[in-house]
């Protein structure tokens, strides 16, 4: 009774394996040569806009990882002002800073990957924070992930 059923299951398992041996789907993005196009509102590395900042320091206060700190910066023709800087050694990409900024001075970019040679290099003081995350050193082929009924995820060149 048991044995024939087991043999059937063995054959089914082998056939399923064989099916995937000839089937097409693959779920690999050849990162970094290829990179995904990220959806709108993706919580990447935030970018700072100095003009809009009101120095309220809410971003630094809500930051759960203490990654954002307020730096005192000399501004021409004005008094000293406090601007946020970010330490990417600590950032956990929760996006609270962007969401709480009442002036819209912080916004998400779609860049989430940045490599550096030193830890100090990952500390972005207000100046660099305003420049935004450094662009990738080479241009990857961009692909857009699309959910698909047949293969699950399709990466469409875009």
């Amino acid at each position: 009774m048991e044995l024939p059923k087991r043999v059937v299951h063995h054959i089914e398992a082998l056939l399923t394996g064989a099916k995937y041996l000839v089937a097409k789907p693959r779920m690999t993005v050849m990162y970094p040569e290829e990179a995904q196009i990220l959806p709108e509102g993706y919580r990447g590395m935030p970018k700072f806009n100095r003009e809009k900042c009101r120095s309220c320091s809410l971003c630094a206060r809500i930051c759960p990882a203490n990654a954002i700190k307020m730096y005192t910066v000399e501004v021409e023709g004005e008094k000293k002002k406090k601007y946020p800087g970010i330490n990417y050694n600590r950032c956990i990409f929760c996006g609270f800073c962007v969401d709480i900024c009442p002036a819209g001075a912080l916004e998400f970019t779609d860049i989430h990957d940045y490599a550096s040679y030193s830890l100090e290099d990952l500390v972005f003081k207000p100046d660099r924070f305003a420049e935004g995350p450094p662009p990738r050193p080479f241009k990857p082929k961009l692909v857009k992930p699309m959910l698909d009924e047949e293969v699950g995820l399709k990466y469409v060149p875009g």
Binding site: A13, L14, T16, G17, A18, Y20, L21, P25, R26, M27, T28
Partner: protein
């Protein structure tokens, strides 16, 4: 004059003397090394394909990463083989070398074609089998010599498994030898020109195939080195070229068993392609190689399908299923002899 004579003598010795050609080129060492590189690459590729991945790719990208294993081999060659202080040095170093050697030696005795064979003997099948049973002893020795609990457990498992598969292996080969009434591989193959062994005794063929899987630790019988249980079993302490030899040994053994399967059950070099002989006397033997390759591809494909059995379950397969099957195959052979004569 002298020099060219020496060269032609050398060429003659190396390429046209079966006693030298068989062990060194085909089906011996050179074939084995090339196959090792290819088959491990193929194993990774097949597993990757089933698993929605690409597998090795970046070394020779255009050829699908086929040279990846060459790169790995080079790495193993030049990596420092770490020899821990606590191990038994002689066993630790000699073990892998002897294991690889004993896995390889039977290959040297396999015939390439009917005329072209390294060992001419009425008992060549027996010799190959006897040599095949040597390798596991060194598995146990290195596990013991490693002085590591995981290694020890791994080699104990190997020991248990050997117990369970060796008798079916002998019995199933005996069954096919009985049908053809010979222990000479060449004779057995020659007699298969009319009817393949797998048709004459399918039970023996099935048993032998399963035994080949168990004895070379293919899935689902990858038990002695079960990674999530006992790290790498007997091979836990190994690194560098010594580890390379150990890893290679099981594939070599699998190659030998597949060749043997092709010879005993799949008609060997039949249907023979005679025009190949013009290129080289051993060339018709490629038919055997291709048959063996198919068996090997099936064996490595199983990695993508199966989890691994527990050691007691594998032993149960050995004693309850394979032992019974091998006894049956003997009975079947007797029946065939009685019926066909």
């Amino acid at each position: 004059m002298q020099v060219s004579e020496i060269i032609s003598w050398l060429i003659n010795l190396l390429f046209y003397k079966p006693e030298v050609f068989c062990p060194i080129f085909y089906p011996g060492l050179v074939t084995i090394l090339a196959l090792l590189i290819f088959i491990i690459w193929l194993e990774r590729k097949i597993a990757a394909k089933v698993q929605l991945r690409y597998g090795p790719l970046y070394v020779t990208r255009k050829a699908g990463g086929i040279l990846q294993l060459l790169a790995d081999l080079l790495r193993y060659m030049f990596q420092e083989p770490i020899i821990p202080k606590t191990v038994d040095k002689i066993a630790f170093i000699a073990g892998p070398v002897l294991l690889f050697a004993t896995a390889y030696v039977p290959a040297a005795l396999l015939p390439a074609t009917a005329e072209f064979t390294g060992l001419r003997s009425e008992l060549s099948l027996l010799a190959v089998l006897a040599l095949l049973t040597l390798a596991p002893i060194f598995d146990i020795i290195i596990g013991w010599g490693s002085n590591n609990k995981f290694s020890l457990i791994g080699s104990m498992r190997e020991g248990y498994i050997v117990m369970s598969y060796e008798i079916p292996m002998f019995l199933s080969t005996l069954a096919i030898a009985m049908v053809y009434g010979s222990l000479n591989i060449v004779e057995i193959v020659e007699m298969q020109s009319r009817c393949w062994g797998i048709l004459l005794n399918p039970i023996a063929a099935a048993t032998f195939l399963l035994v080949a899987l168990i004895s070379t630790a293919r899935f689902p019988f990858e038990i002695a080195e079960a990674e999530t249980e006992i790290v790498m079993g007997p091979y836990t302490e190994y690194s560098g070229i010594l580890y390379g030899l150990l890893m290679g040994a099981s594939y070599v053994k699998f190659y030998v068993l597949s060749m043997l399967f092709a010879l005993l059950f799949l008609g060997g070099w039949h249907p023979s392609i005679t025009w190949l002989e013009k290129i080289h006397p051993a060339a018709p033997g490629l038919v055997v190689f291709i048959k063996a390759l198919i068996i090997m591809v099936f064996g490595i494909f199983l990695r993508a399908v199966y989890p691994r059995f527990r050691v007691d379950q594998a032993i149960r397969v050995g004693w309850h299923l394979l032992f019974m099957l091998s006894m049956l195959s003997i009975a079947y052979s007797l029946a065939v002899i009685w019926l066909v004569g």
